[in-house]
Structure formats: C-alpha cells, structure tokens
C-alpha cells in the first residue's frame, strides 16, 4: 500500500501553464499584426443571443456557459458539473439542446443561442413551458430547472404534441437530483396542451 500516489496532473500542469501563457501572447501579437495563422480565431466576436447581437471579448478556449454567465450576466444558465454530466447548463443552439459548459463560445458565432432568459414574451408573459412548470409545481430546488425548461422548449418546437415517452427521452440529458422528473414531464405534457 503506497499512499504516496504521484499526480501527473500536478506536475504537467506546471509545465502547461507556462506553455499556454507563451502561446497566447503569440496569438495576440499575430492578431495585432494582421497575419494570424490561417484559421485561428479573433477574440472580439458577435454572437446572437436571445435575438440580440452581443459583441463580446471571448478567449479562444472559453465555454459558452462561461461567456453567458460571467460576461453577459445571463446567470439563468447554471453550471452544475462543468462536465456535460448534468444538463443544468442546457441552452439551445440553432434550436437544438447543447450543454453550454461543453461548447466553445467561438463555435456559436454563426449560430443563434437561446437561453432561459430569452423565453418570455416582450410583455413578460411566460413561455408555455415556464407556465406549465409553475402549474405542475415542477421544480424543487430549481437549480436544474432552466436546463429542463430549455430541453422542453426544444422538444415542443420540433414535436408540438409529444407522447410522454418522447418527452422523457428528450429531457433525459437533464439530471434532477431532487427527482422531480414526474412533475417535469407533467409540465411538458401540459405545455403541449395535452393531459399529463
């Protein structure tokens, strides 16, 4: 039994951060001189979020969840694991559900992003999914709720009258530790105008 396990992660990280720092300065210089390597990315980009074009300075490695929460103040998108293992950060990209913690912001430049903040009508009316989730008392602690809402919205836009089983499959990439699955499915069915 040897408790003194070495952690490669630790040693390599030391090396890596210096490499990374050097390479980043390289990019910036190159960009300033206008002869960036072919295919490398600009930092200042426009992204279409909830119907608005937002101009934002994005690091090459930045995840969409990070940009949304910490640069655009859209904190409705939650980070539960930062690993694509829970679904709390689910947003719609071109209408399709994605884990924003596992999406590079630079990959959405030409696409449209929708978050939970973009669902209400201009007069504040809730999206039918949001209203149905209230009516069915779907959320418990609420931390996974924005992700559940987004998965439900994506489903109903493609399949307005899903079966309960279709709803279950569509939402299956969203974990709920409170175990409110039944109530969320009731909400999806209600939002689609069907009896749960």
């Amino acid at each position: 039994m040897n408790p003194q396990l070495s952690r490669r992660r630790f040693i390599k990280a030391v090396i890596a951060s210096s490499v990374a720092a050097a390479s980043t300065s390289g990019i910036n210089q190159a960009a300033a001189q206008g002869n960036r390597p072919r295919g490398s990315v600009e930092r200042l980009i426009s992204i279409n979020i909830n119907g608005q074009t937002r101009r934002v300075d994005v690091a090459p490695q930045e995840t969409l969840a990070y940009t949304l929460r910490y640069k655009l103040g859209l904190t409705g998108t939650k980070i539960g694991c930062n690993r694509g293992e829970c679904g709390a950060c689910t947003v719609l990209i071109n209408g399709v559900t994605n884990y924003s913690c596992s999406t590079l912001t630079h990959s959405v430049r030409t696409r449209t992003v929708r978050t939970v903040e973009g669902l209400q009508a201009p007069d504040g009316t809730l999206h039918p999914v949001q209203q149905a989730f209230i009516d069915e008392l779907s959320p418990q602690c609420g931390f996974c709720t924005p992700g559940q809402v987004m998965s439900a919205v994506a489903l109903l836009e493609e399949t307005p009258q899903p079966t309960r089983e279709e709803a279950r499959q569509a939402l299956s990439g969203n974990l709920c530790r409170c175990g409110a699955y039944d109530h969320y499915l009731n909400g999806v069915m209600r939002a689609s105008g069907q009896n749960s």
């Binding site: 408790p3 409705g76 939650k78 209230i134 008392l137 418990q140 089983e165 974990l175 499915l185």
Partner: protein, 804 residues
C-alpha cells in the same frame, strides 16, 4: 382548527417558483460584489497525512493572485471535527489551503504551482479492515468514535481475525461495540418465536451530490460579515456560522434565497461556508469560493454506510416478538453519523417488536465525510428490513402486506428504548390504501415469469420522526392591510417555507394575495426557525405560524375592544376586518388595526415582546417594531411523544435475468403525515423521495480503492444519480390524510420516509423476482444479479463496503 380551511390543503403558486422557471432565481454563485475576488481550494491528494511543508511562492508571485489562506489563518479544531482548512488531512479532498485571485483562471493557474508535502499516515476505506486486529486506524487517535450525552471520544476497537471472519460469514458479531440500548425481555421473546431469521447486511454510503456545487461569498462591512451561502436552513444556519467565523450571531448576515439541493448536507453551517469570511478579512476584499463538482463530491457529505447483522423473531401469527440488531457504521473521517441508532429506532417504530436490542459501533474511515442524508439510518434499515419481512411472510404463509399490517404502528404503539408514545400513527391505513391503489391482491396472483424476464412485486415502509418544537413565529400586519409572514425556514425546494406561512394566513383568514413572505436574508428580519431538514418543517412551522398568528389575533381583538369598546371576546375577524360579533357593521379594517397598533406601541407594535423568544427573533422584532401590529411567539404548544412521518410504497418491476437490469413498471407511494397541507408539494416530495430510493436501491454507492484511498466516483457520471430513464415515467402517490392531534392543522412531515418506503419496496421487489433471495446489500447492481442468477460468486467479500 376547523376542517373547512381556506388555504390549508389547497394548492397555490409559491412565490419563489417563477424565478426558478425564468432563471431569475439567484443562487449563491450568481451574486457579485464590488472588488470581489475568486477563491479556489487546494485539497489533500492523500487519504491521511500530515502536511510538512507548503510552498506557495510561485503562486503568490503571479500577477492577479491576491492571497493565500492556510490552516494557520483559521481556527484550529480538535479531531475528529472538520476544520475549514487543515494540516492533518484525513481524506482525499480534505481542504488544505485556498487561493484568491482576480479571475478563476488565474486561481487555477496559481493552484497548479502549489507544492505541498505531506507525510503519509495509515488510512482505511472499509470499517472491517480497520476493525480487524492489526488493521490501520483512520485517525492517529483511534478508529472508533462514540458520541453520547455522557461523553464523546475516540476509542481503539479491534476484533480478532476470527471474529471478523465469523461476522462476514453471517454470524452474530462477538466483538466489542460502543453503544447499546434495549427494551423488553429479548431472550424470552426469541424463545417464544415460531420463526427466527438472521441476516447480515451492507448498505454502502454515497454522496449527496446536490445540483448546486456549494458556493459561498463573503465580505465585511462595519464589523458585520455578509455571507451569500448555499444553505438548507436560514436562521438555524446562523449560530453555527457565527461560531465558525468567531463573531456573535448578530454580526453575521446570511443571504440564501435559493439553494440548489441539500438533502441533509447543508442543514447547519459547514466549514467552507466560513472560509470566504476569513479570506475576506485577511485580504480586505469580497471573496467568492466556488467548488468544483469533484470537490463537491469530496466535501459535500455522504450517507453513512452500514455493515450489520440482524436477528428477527416472529410468532406463528406473524407478530414480531423480538429484534436484535448490530450495526457498524462508517462515520468517515469526521465521526459524523448517528445513523445506526436511528435505524434501531426505526425498527422499533415500524415493526414494533415486543423486545429489542440495538448495538452500535461507529468506525472511522478515510473516505468522504458523512452527514445526514435523507432519512439517515431510517432509510438504510428500511432497505434491509423489507426482504426480511417478505421472507418471514413466505415461511409463515402470510401475505406480505398482511404481515406488515399485523405489526403496523398505530396510535397505541410505544416506541424506542424509553418506550414513548406516538402523537398518532396510521400505518395500517396507509398499507391498505396503498394495496388498494396498487391492486396488490390481484397483482400478486398474476404469473411471474415471461421468458427470461421475471416480475417482482415489492412493498416497503419508511419512517422518520417528523416534527420539532420550541421555534418562533413572527407575523406583522401593516397599515396597508397586508399580512407579512417572516420565515427563517430555508429554501431547499420543498416550498414548505411558503406552505407553513399559509398557516398564519389561515388563522387570520387573509386572502393569500394580501400576504407577503419575508425570507432568504437575515436583513429581512427573520425569526428563529427550525432546520429545514429532518422532515420537521411542516409540523414545526405550521405551529410557529399558528402561535404567532394567534398572538396577532389576540392583539387585533384587544385593539378593537380598546378602540370601539367591549371585550376582546366580543370581536371576530373575517380576513379584512375585525368586527363586533353582535353587530358586524361595527368594526375596523386590518389596516386600521395595524395603524392603531403602531400608535399604541407596547406589545402591539413590537416594542415589547415575550422574553422566551430566541435572540435572533428578538432582533428581528426590534428591527420591525413600530411598523405594524406584531404577532410573535415561541411555539410552546403541547407536545409529547414521538411525531412520526410514515410512508409506504408498492412497486412492480420486470427483472431481466440475463442482463441483471430491471424496469420499474409501476410505483405507488402513500404518505401518512397527518393532514395534507400542500397537495402538490406533498406529491412532489413523495415522488422525489421515490427517485432517491431508486438510486439507493440500484445505482448509488461509494467506490474506494483500498490500496490508495482513491475514490472512483467523483463526478455525476460515476456517482450514478438516477436519470429520467432509470425511473418510471409516472409515479402515483396519495396520502392517508388523518389529522394529528398535536398540530393545530393536524400536519406532520414526510420528506424522508418518502424515500425509505421506495428503497424498501424495490429491495422487496428484487427479492420477490429472485424467489426470495436476499442480497442483504444496497445497491443491487446488474452484475450482482447476473452473478446470482448464473450461480457465480459475487466479486466482493461478504460485508465488504465502499467497493463495486
């Protein structure tokens, strides 16, 4: 109160739910403060050791790094308690230091340069490996820790190899233990038994893994520490947090409007909630500490694991004559547990043996710290007991539901070692209601086998004590006629802060639209409230809001009498006015009463208040005094006996003998928690509890490599939290709904039994599908089923724990 309630028993829209569906609800990490820096923790890579040197030079020299916090900067604690930061880590992930920087990325870059040298110490991940003669101790002070009123302390307890082997072989343990209680004549009761069943069992602990990785942000202003935290409880969190911060409770403000799950892991203040306070003081800037999911696994708490042996005696009629249980509990490195004795209590409550003995041995391991997790103890034993009850029923030729009814808790049941009464209990009714709803009689006669798939029917019972007393209620009527209900209950997601607030509105007959709940922030003037845990909120805070509202009502009538003449008893209320009963046209609006209360001062306006209320409530009253009519009181209502929360579940599974997987085809859960206060909220708790039970029954467990103390399941994926597709699409629930006499509205709590009945029903169903085989283990994973069906040995040693 009358049966004709205006609000109680009715669904409503809780005030916090809209924020949850719109994303506007703020959790601790969603807050920012001017000048705030980010902190991250560096934790122990070693299961047990002593830090000999820390080199942070390189980190400190990095641009953007603002400061380092080490164990020297925070109060030292005595083992086995958990420190904010430690130099004697006792598990992988034990926090050693923290770094603050301008950005999280700089924090992580700095973290990568930290060098910590740790001198390794012996460690252990399975209590039996520590218990065996010559085995390692998880702490240098010993390997067991007893907590009792008489005194707490470390012990070193060793069993001979033979004793451990015999225990693994299913024999009654003969080694030392640290606690014992009993009642009745055990030997005689076993002698009278027609059937005696002995079974060894293991329930592996597992992590809470709340969705929100706990975050705390803190800053100081004029000597007050403001903490944005992730807490199950609001007021109850305060004294502990203040103690950890080394200040008085009045000098802490806790903002915790929403909490992303807790399940027992955030009941009271936990050490890292205090870390940003110290850090902020040290560097003079607001500090936010966010933990990674991996760290949430390490320090986010976990269920206590059991390794035990039980012997049950049954009469020919199915009545349980005796129960003898011995439980080794895995109490992690911080000696946090107590589950075992609670499990013993649950046996006494749910199965009502005429005689009983409990023996317990809490053993330390260098695994993630343990803590209360939804039904701590009660739910482990619920899982253990279900297949044993089934076996007894089978041998005695009694229906499996019937044998549970024969032993069911009722109003006359006397429980626990001190033989206490219960406030009320209707287990028999719950079983009958569930059996009817599930169509048990019909289903049990259906054919079981269909090719390689076998149906299994299960029935399970859950219990947890479900109420506490002595907390305070605080309401306020303002001149605009609104009723303000101040709640120090936390927001765990059960909506019980709101549903119990409705008790005050019910008493004062207020329209719910005219009520406002104040909560979530100490500065909202919140009373001393119970922990949002232990299934207590519904019972405890319908009572506190009742007494506060009754105090307000009394004052309203007194003011009416004083203003309009007559005696207070001549007046009644209708929700908007206080009026003269004999001439309802004469009266005062609630608003006018409130305005008058302000003029009159004294106890009407809160200038004077009862002297038995908690200091937290006193401060709240002082701060709102003069703003309306104040109703404030401590819950001194009559209470005696154990307040049970009971639940039963029925389920049908289809188990695939070739893959070891099963589908849960149907699930019915029945709550026995007195009067239903909030039907949808109750259904939600019953269903969420069902999912938790399903996770415990088949999926969730700690896995540690005993060779190095490494945990295998540090993320959501490896922890095996049930997904949509691992649980039934529909779960059915209902409630017995018979009022408890010791609550003004007849209500008791339910959160924890909601899970216990589920894990029990599943264990029962799996056993049923496999011709009564008892694995004596949670979780039952597909590999175990395949091995059993194919007649192969299991991979693990009998009673091994924290393993695959």
């Amino acid at each position: 109160m009358s049966n004709e309630y205006k609000l109680i028993g009715k669904d409503f829209v809780p005030p916090d739910i809209t924020g949850k569906v719109t994303g506007k609800a703020k959790y601790a990490e969603d807050f920012r403060a001017d000048g705030m820096v980010f902190a991250r923790m560096y934790t122990s890579p070693m299961a047990h050791g002593k830090v000999t040197s820390i080199n942070t030079e390189q980190a400190e020299a990095m641009e953007g790094v603002v400061g380092i916090l080490t164990a020297e900067d925070v109060p030292e604690v005595t083992a086995p308690d958990a420190a904010i930061l430690t130099n004697t880590p006792a598990y992988i992930g034990d926090p050693i230091l923290a770094i603050a920087a301008e950005t999280e990325q700089i924090c992580e870059d700095a973290m990568a340069t930290i060098e910590v040298e740790i001198e390794p110490l012996p460690f252990v991940t399975d209590p039996l490996d520590s218990l065996v003669d010559g085995g390692p101790n998880a702490r240098t002070e010993g390997n067991a820790y007893a907590r009792s009123r008489e005194g707490s302390g470390f012990q070193t307890i060793k069993w001979s190899q033979q004793q451990v082997d015999d225990f693994r072989a299913g024999k009654e343990p003969t080694g030392d233990f640290v606690s014992e209680w009993s009642y009745g004549d055990l030997d005689n009761s076993f002698a009278e038994a027609e059937l005696v069943i002995e079974e060894p069992f293991v329930t592996i602990g597992y992590a809470h893994m709340s969705m929100e990785p706990r975050t705390a942000m803190a800053y100081w202003q004029n000597g007050t520490c403001y903490v944005h935290g992730s807490s199950q409880s609001q007021s109850y969190f305060m004294p502990g947090l203040a103690r950890m911060l080394g200040v008085e409770t009045k000098d802490v403000v806790l903002i915790s409007e929403n909490t992303g799950g807790g399940f027992g892991s955030k009941i009271g203040a936990y050490p890292i909630a205090a870390l940003p306070g110290y850090f902020s003081k040290k560097i003079g800037r607001p500090v936010q500490l966010r933990v990674t999911r991996e760290q949430e696994y390490y320090m986010g708490s976990a269920r206590v694991g059991f390794q035990g042996w039980i012997k049950m005696g049954f009469g020919a009629d199915g009545k349980i004559t005796a129960s003898d249980v011995f439980i080794i509990e895995d109490i992690g490195p911080n000696a946090t547990g107590g589950d075992a004795s609670s499990a013993g209590g649950a046996i006494s409550m749910v199965y009502d043996p005429s005689a009983m003995r409990f023996r317990g041995l809490p053993v330390l391991t260098n695994t993630t710290p343990r803590g209360a997790q939804r039904g701590p103890g009660q739910n482990q034993i619920a899982a253990v007991m279900a297949p044993i009850m089934d076996k007894a029923a089978k041998v005695l030729g009694i229906d499996r539901v019937e044998i549970r009814k024969i032993n069911s808790t009722n109003n006359d049941t006397i429980v626990y070692a001190d033989r206490r009464p219960v406030t009320s209990a209707y287990m028999d009714e719950a079983l009958q209601q569930g059996a009817d709803m599930f169509d048990w009689q019909n289903r049990k006669n259906q054919p079981k086998k269909k090719g390689k798939k076998v149906r299994g029917l299960g029935v399970g019972q859950g219990y947890h004590s479900a109420g506490a007393t002595g907390f305070d209620g605080l309401v306020r009527l303002t001149p605009d006629g609104k009723l303000h209900i101040h709640s120090g209950v936390g927001n765990l997601g059960t909506y019980s802060f709101a549903s119990t607030s409705r008790a005050a509105a019910e008493v004062l007959k207020c329209d719910w639209e005219r009520c406002e709940i104040h909560r979530g922030n100490t500065e909202n003037h919140l009373p001393w409230s119970s922990y949002q845990a232990g299934s207590v909120t519904i019972f405890s805070h319908t009572r506190t809001n009742y007494v506060a509202a009754m105090d307000a009502l009394d004052k309203m009538k007194r003011i009416a009498a004083q203003t309009m003449g007559g005696e207070p008893g001549d007046y009644d209320i209708d929700g908007q006015r206080v009026f003269l009963i004999e001439d309802p046209a004469q009266g005062m609006s609630y608003g006018a009463i409130a305005a008058r209360a302000i003029q009159l001062g004294g106890d009407y306006s809160g200038a004077v208040y009862p002297d038995d209320i908690h200091e937290i409530t006193q401060r709240a009253v002082q701060n709102i005094a003069g703003s309306g009519l104040i109703g404030v009181a401590k819950d001194n209502l009559h209470q005696e006996g154990v307040i049970p929360g009971l639940a039963v579940a029925f389920c049908e599974i289809e188990l695939d003998l070739e893959t070891g997987k099963y589908d849960i085809l149907d699930y019915v859960g029945i709550a026995e928690c007195g009067t239903v206060i909030h039907p949808k909220g109750l259904a939600q708790q019953m269903k969420g509890g069902a999912v938790w039970g399903m996770g415990m029954a088949g999926l969730e467990r700690h896995v540690y490599d005993p060779q190095n103390g490494l945990p295998a399941n540090i993320g959501y994926h490896q922890c095996g939290i049930p997904t949509y597709l691992d649980v039934p699409s529909v779960t059915k629930t209902d409630a017995v709904n018979i009022a408890d006499p010791q609550n003004p509205f007849g209500a008791r709590g339910i959160g924890e039994p909601a899970m216990g009945c589920s894990v029990a029903a599943l264990q029962s169903a799996i056993s049923d599908a496999l011709d009564g085989h008892i694995f004596g283990r949670t979780p039952i994973s597909p590999d175990m089923v395949v091995n059993h069906v194919m007649g192969r040995d299991q991979s693990f040693l009998p009673l091994q724990t924290n393993n695959f």
